[in-house]
Amino acid sequence: MKISITDAETGKQIERQMTADEITEFNAQNAAYAAKLAEEEAKAAELKAIKISAYKKLGLTEAEIEALIPSLSQLSPQA
């Protein structure tokens, strides 16, 4: 894995391989982010299912529910 580093003070830019420690830290951050994203997406899906269930109980048709569901994307991350 390569990293590009620019020093604005000197104007120099280098490109080098990341160290083992840097790669470990980098991958750990990305893994943690992916896990958090998956958790948020699961919560959004759960909320969507609850909304659909509630709309059905109100007697709305599939088309009517479909028209209402896009508003969910404004309520939850990555919906």
């Binding site: 390569k2 990293i3 590009s4 020093d7 604005a8 830290e25 982010y33 994203l37 994307s73 990555q78």
Partner: protein
């Protein structure tokens, strides 16, 4: 009647760097006490996997310093042509997510950097070429830091593009 000469407010190009297929792109020593506002112009940034999120982290301590990896808070909203909205949040994260994909150009204003103990802030707009969306985003650090630079990355794969940093004279 005649035009008066502008006495201030000029943009100064501090640095511009290009990068190709790198895991991360760092720009150090671009934020100092010289300016209060900085403009980051992200020129056509792409990731190996377009749908990877575009992220930024602050750097502290100059070229021998480190990357700040905690307490990022912020949000990004994208709207496509339908229009459908998509939100992405950073909630006490290790990085600030600027957008849900990395195939975009953005103009981002940066404040509260280059001086001691400030909550670095960033906000701006952009366009996504893949989802064809307009992007609005903003975020701050919960903790006070002395940001001297930044790191650009995607949430997973390598990135390619260019970034220019301008200082705005007061």
């Amino acid at each position: 009647m005649k035009w008066a000469a502008a006495s201030s407010g000029a943009f100064t190009l501090i640095t511009r760097s290009t990068f190709s297929n790198t895991a991360a792109n760092i720009v150090d020593n671009c934020f100092t006490s010289t300016y209060k506002s900085y403009l980051l112009v992200l020129e056509d940034i792409t990731a190996a996997t377009d749908t990877d999120d575009l992220q930024i982290q602050w750097r502290t301590g100059g070229s021998s310093g480190s990357t700040h990896t905690s307490a990022y808070y912020g949000a990004s909203r994208a709207m496509d042509f339908n229009p459908t909205f998509t939100n992405t949040v950073s909630n006490n994260a290790s990085q600030l997510t600027l957008h849900r994909a990395t195939i975009n150009s953005m103009a981002l204003w940066v404040n509260k950097v280059g001086n001691t103990n400030e909550r670095a802030s960033i906000y701006g707009t952009g366009v996504d070429y893949n989802y064809v969306e307009a992007i609005w985003c903003g975020g701050v650090t919960a903790s006070s830091i002395t940001a001297t630079g930044f790191l650009l990355k995607s949430s997973s794969t390598n990135i390619t593009g260019a970034v220019a940093v301008y200082g705005l004279a007061i």
